[in-house]
Structures are given as C-alpha cells and as structure tokens.
Symmetry: C2
Subunit: 193 residues, 2 copies
C-alpha cells in the first residue's frame, strides 16, 4: 500500500516529463541524453526505462504532454486578452507575445522537433501535425465566432501567420514579426466587418 506521503509526492512520470520538457525544449532532442534526463528527473535509470522503454517512446510521450499543456496555456492566455476587450482573433497574437517575450523562448517545440528528422519517426510526426491541426481548428472557432462570414481560407492563413511569427521571432529574437502578423490579421478581418 502506498502511504499518504507517497501519494502527495510528484509522480515519477510527471518528474520525467517535466525534465524532458525542460531539456528537450531548450537544447533539442538529439542533444539531450537519457542520463541527463535521469539526473534532472531524479529517478533511476531502471525506473526511467520501466516508464518509457526507449528514448523514442519518451519523446512521443513528451510531445503529447507538451501539446496538452501548451494548448491549455494558449487558450487561457487568449481568453484573458479577450476578457480585457481584445478581438478574439487578434488576441492570439497578444497571447503569443507573452510567450515570445519570455527569456526561455526557443520557438515552437513541435516545429523544432520535426526539423531534427533523424530523431523523429512517423508516430512523432503524427503528434506534431495533429498539434498544428488542433491549433488551426481552435483559431477557426475564434474566427467563426468573432467574424462570421470570413473567407474560408482565413483560418488556414491565421495558422500560417501564427507559425511564421513563432519561427521568425525565434530567429530574430524580436517581437517584430509578431507585430507585423498582427497588423496583417487586423487588415484581413477588417475587410469583412
């Protein structure tokens, strides 16, 4: 039987996934060894491999976990800006600006991961494209609610603007691309209403 103290403790899974997120996001998949994850998560090598039988499986678990956490953060941040009176579609860029401005910003973990093609298999690719599809579907919901009658390509175009701004903000280390993307989105939704 597990004691109450044990139940209150952070689970090894959570500890490993948190360590994986910190290290994989900051340095990339190939640059992080399983030993580093073991040290950062403070579990034994044996337990690490009992939880995730290979690095590829761990990467898949990390991507799925990050998808859930990122989408939760993003939708909450958008809600917060909408609550303060910002147009729902434009609020996506204000939410992204919070993220891009944080010192640990390193671009999109999913885009970065798919660029490391040798570390990525088809199951990873599916998680990554599903993540982007879900992001676009969420934005499509915002567009339809706030600007009904918009052209059918607007959600996809918003997705392109969002990912382009995320990528270029990482390259230039500036929010300039985000500002330009927001201006373009303002123009695009302004044409309708």
């Amino acid at each position: 039987m597990r004691s109450v103290a044990e139940i209150d403790t952070i689970s090894p899974e959570r500890s490993v996934l948190d360590a994986a997120d910190r290290l994989f996001y900051e340095r990339g998949i190939a640059a992080v060894s399983m030993s580093e994850i073991r040290d950062s998560a403070d579990v034994s090598m044996r337990r690490l491999y009992m939880l995730y039988p290979s690095k590829r499986v761990l990467v898949a678990a990390w991507l799925s976990d990050r998808h859930l956490r990122w989408m939760t953060w993003f939708t909450e941040a958008v809600d917060r800006h909408v609550w303060h009176g910002t147009d729902a579609v434009l609020a996506t860029f204000d939410a992204l600006e919070e993220w891009v401005s944080s010192p640990e910003y390193r671009g999109c973990a999913f885009i970065n991961s798919i660029a490391e093609s040798a570390e990525i298999d088809d199951s990873h690719r599916a998680i990554i494209s599903d993540h982007k599809r879900e992001l676009i579907a969420y934005v499509a919901g915002l567009v339809e609610a706030a600007h009904p009658g918009s052209p059918p390509w607007l959600p996809d175009a918003m997705g392109v603007l969002i990912d382009g701004a995320i990528v270029q903000s990482a390259i230039f280390n500036t929010t300039t691309p985000l500002v330009a993307a927001r201006a373009a989105a303002t123009s695009l939704i302004g044409q309708v209403q």
Copy 2:
C-alpha cells in the same frame, strides 16, 4: 601547375559543399557524420579537414553556400512567374509552390538548422538571420515596386506568411498552407490598389 583536366574537374570544395547540402538538408546536421560527407563527396578525410578544419566550420560554409544558391533559385523562379504575368508579390508563392511540391522538400534548411540548437553557434545564427533579412529585403523591393504606398508592415508580414507557409507545408506535406498564404497576400495587396 594544374593541368587543364584538373581545372575542368569539379573542385573538392564544390564536391564537399554539394555532399553537405544533400545530407544536411535531408537528415539534419547532427544526424550526418563527417565520414558520410567524406564518402559522399569522394575525398579523403585528410582533405576534408584541410578544407574545413571542423564540422562547425563546414556547417557555416554550407549555410553560406546554400544561402547564395537558394536566393539565386528563388529570385529566378519569381522572375519567371512575373514574366508570365503574375503579380510580383504573389509570384513569390508560386515560386515556393514549385519547391514545396518537389519530392525532396524538407522545409527551410535555415529554420531546420536553428532548431538543432546544440549544433549551432553564434556564427551560424548570424548567417541564418542574415538569410531571412535578405529574403525580407528582397520581398520589400517587390512590394515597393509593384504596390507603392503599401503599409510599412507589409514586407515583414509577407516574410511571416512565407516562412509560415514553408514550415506548415513541411509539417502537413501539402500545399494547402501556401494556398491560404497566397490568398491572404492577395487580400492584403488588394486593399491598397
């Protein structure tokens, strides 16, 4: 003195840079070993290290070389579409569609490289951001020539649309993002003229 036959032969530098481009672009930097580049370029290990004293230096040379070659290809492809009557700004997306549709398409080499942060140092980062700056400057020239009086953020927004479409086309393995980006650009330039 070098013989005529030698002069006509492909130089070892060219052979190495071509091999680096094939392998680094297809599989990523970390996944390609110096031995593979030696084999693919058909030079000796000794000559490879005489030309480029470390992998980091070779990566920098590859990025600079790819910048020149890609920009040359891109501007020529845009010119070709303009010649057939397409608006110069929209022609950028038609040029990109040729690239994205090719079977060996793997996204933008510069975006992919910066995602492999462990393999990349500040000199590489400078080459990458300079590449994107030059791309945006080129597009800014097209915008100014074809649509004078456009809003000042339009070139940056075009850059965001281009990189977003390049990235998402690689993730989804489709030209859908490119079509949406082109539609958005059409709308943006249509508002002015």
